[in-house]
Symmetry: C2
DNA sequence: CTTTACGTTTACGTAAGCGTCAAGCACAGA
DNA sequence: TCTGTGCTTGACGCTTACGTAAACGTAAAG
């Protein structure tokens, strides 16, 4: 008897604990159109798609994007194939995002480099201090 | 006749146009303790140190750090050599920052990878569309 | 049948990061 | 002396991204 892939679902609390965010946060993201869980009666039911989107949203947040920016990014991932105009537009958006991300990467690398330098200086000072003290 | 290095200074407007921020923003950063320009009478006079700090602040912003976080980062750069406790603390801060930045880098790389995949799919769809149309 | 757990909406509160006046001083040129 | 230009300090306003009750529904457990 092999595994039958049943489309798994989650409650809001399950997602909240899994990703360590509050219920309020998840509902807020829905309010902003970032998540669209199913409704069974009044209760929210989250599908794998929602779960993936939440993960993407949080990654976007860690990168410092605003929710509006995140919305456009996340929507790129599951835009329907669509017609030519759509595709061209999407490709342009992607190019724009990539440029943004590469700027960030440059900033990030530079900051890490700077930090390493400060650290070295700092460590040298500390070593000198301890040597002198014997 | 060689160049004599005169400590150059800037007005608030000069810095603002150079870094493309508003006067309000620069004053706000001062209010938050991020900048400490000299005062000649009531007027602010910015020295090279302030200019560097402003650049660091803006880079921090591009990376999505809060001003509070930026404050601790920027202050690392020009903390006096100090005594052992200070140095140890500073090294810990640096380690913490580095961990944060490396998490960001991972997120960033993953996002770029994802984006590349979406782009490829998108481009393929577009090509197919154009081929079919002949 | 009541408690407990878990969900819901509505709505006001808040911290961050500035924007945007308002009102005033100082100095340079016509 | 008037006008303009650039600087100053308040001080209120606005948006984002939630926190934090309040008040209520529902379903299983004791």
């Amino acid at each position: 008897m092999h595994n039958i892939q049943v489309a798994e679902t989650w409650t809001i609390a399950e997602l909240a604990t899994e990703y360590d965010v509050t219920l309020r946060t998840i509902r807020f993201y829905e309010d902003r159109g970032l998540l669209t869980p199913e409704r069974r009666g009044t209760v929210r039911v989250y599908h794998p798609r929602d779960r993936v989107r939440l993960a993407l949203i949080l990654r976007g947040k860690r990168l410092g994007f605003s929710l509006d920016e995140i919305a456009t990014i996340v929507d790129m991932y599951d835009t329907a194939p669509g017609e030519e105009g759509q595709l061209v537009y999407l490709l342009a958006q992607i190019a724009h995002r990539r440029a943004d991300l590469e700027q960030r990467r440059a900033d990030l690398e530079q900051t890490l480099t700077d930090l390493a330098e400060v650290e070295a200086r700092c460590q040298a000072d500390l070593d000198a201090l301890r040597t002198r003290r014997g």
